[in-house]
Symmetry: C2
Subunit: 359 residues, 2 copies
Amino acid sequence: LRNVWAHYKNLLGVENQLVSLGEGDTPLVASSHIGASLAFEHLYFKLENLNPTGSFKDRFTALEIAEMIKQRKNICIATSSGNTGSSLAAYAARYGIRCYIFVNYHAPKEKLLQMLAHGAKIYRVRHFGDSAKDTMAVFSELKNYAEQERVPLVVSAFRFSPVGMQGVKTLAYELADQLEQIDHVFIPVGSGGLLTAVWQGFKDCLGSTQLLPKIHAVQPDGCATIIKALLSNSDEIKPAIATTKISGLAVPCNIDGSLALAAIRESGGWGFSVTDEEIWRAQALLCQQEGIYAEPAGATALAGFIKAFQQGFIRKQETAICLITGHGFKDMASIEKMNTGIQVIEREQISEIIRQGLS
Amino acid sequence: LRNVWAHYKNLLGVENQLVSLGEGDTPLVASSHIGASLAFEHLYFKLENLNPTGSFKDRFTALEIAEMIKQRKNICIATSSGNTGSSLAAYAARYGIRCYIFVNYHAPKEKLLQMLAHGAKIYRVRHFGDSAKDTMAVFSELKNYAEQERVPLVVSAFRFSPVGMQGVKTLAYELADQLEQIDHVFIPVGSGGLLTAVWQGFKDCLGSTQLLPKIHAVQPDGCATIIKALLSNSDEIKPAIATTKISGLAVPCNIDGSLALAAIRESGGWGFSVTDEEIWRAQALLCQQEGIYAEPAGATALAGFIKAFQQGFIRKQETAICLITGHGFKDMASIEKMNTGIQVIEREQISEIIRQGLS
């Protein structure tokens, strides 16, 4: 049976024979239209939306749950803007662990229903994910409790859950196996954990070979914490008020931001901020020109790539990868925007419709 | 880059270097709780819901679209209860083909929105999928038109689209590679095309080895066309009025039913009909005990397995596989049934909630 943990055991330096729901080993597909429309030949999409629960977080959760099983824990607490919670709820159900998930106030309904279906207890916390102050307060409250009661706290970031974040490095291992030469990787940034893990993963497998790609962060204008630090040549990730509507990217405080900033600079990459509208446009482009069904956060890397390409950061003969981090089904309100209407017809109208369509 | 078509080129006898969105090569995972609760050790789930558009239909569509590209077609017509249309719309978008999809009147909203997002033109046809008479009339109208105008007609069944159905055989090739010994495969049956393709696929790779599994059909009571033929020891698939609410399994007429019936008998398998309630219960079990997110049709095989096991059709030391054919996200009304409520809380309540949960 395919298993990403067995395959990369030596490279990762971590064993996991306990937990799997088929995470990882996701397809990398070449762009069919968007690259060509920019006269850019080597554009690829990494389909992390095809992980078991619909996002890259499954690579994280598998190791978190394996650790809980080793430590004989049967309960955990977590925070989530949606995808970590969906993933945790599914794996926790599979391995008999109860979970209490405190979610961003504005998490999309589909992600909440997914957690509930898997039997998690969930609580929407007012203001969580909006302001830096409220968000940090929630984290520190949970961290105190977790330490006091010796209950695992699951937050998909190096700062809180470094064991699970090791698992996300497998994403880079796969990319290095799937393509010989990668020049640029575009990554949506919320906490910065994903970007940090991908960079560490590339260093694990390509560190001594001069083949390391440039890692570029993409954030919405309405929560561009890391981009601002890059633009002002600062080491400080300043707290923000998140005004973006892009689920998963509203992280108004510095969680793994400093780690991500260092990773971007070490790789020679850069940061790009885009409007929510540009993200939704990229999402529609993926649907309509590539056949790829992504949630808005999952289309954000593409919005950043388009901006970077237009601004001259990428040369035509280079190779670029956009990470498609989450599934289109995860946020149906954003899909509903593309709804062009459904007509109800009688059987007798079929021939007329086809005749019109073919003409 | 991983490609199921390159991998199985010789076995399948069909080339496809033109079309891929990462379909196939889906995980097979062992049951963690349901098998154990029945004291049945070797129960597995094949996660076809993790295909690019969320169902096994992508194996079919890839070859259909490849054929259109070879024949330089840039338009097609199709019927669908939902998943074929979602798949076709995505692949057609990727390869620049316009599609007109005539869908069952009762197709779930999520499947319709997915088709629209990918730019397909869709029409809900009144009564289509309800009665055998109306359903056959739609098929024959479309078939006449397709032949007359030389436009490809896409229906995921051997009777209409035998080229694409070859692709579905890869599902069996993978299973034969993933497990050494398979005794039973449980398959949800609508038209009967999936079951027929899986059986043909097993014969391609295991035909001379005495290792062929028994293939079992599972249908809802409200459209048990093939089960009725099995129970009455008849070769005739009688037309029905579909009363089931399970999207994808309401096929009231004989499309690939006769082929499926022959396949079941040749394999030594049997048929099991289950109520819609049993299917929804199996869907909830998959969510809550296995961490697997399936639409109702995708949980139907499990409902059938449970019935077969309870009726003594399966021995404890044997190996059984249930095909999880479609994603949980595809039918949110069925997920909403599992909604146990979401509480909005203030940050100050967190500690109290955790204290209660831990005690």
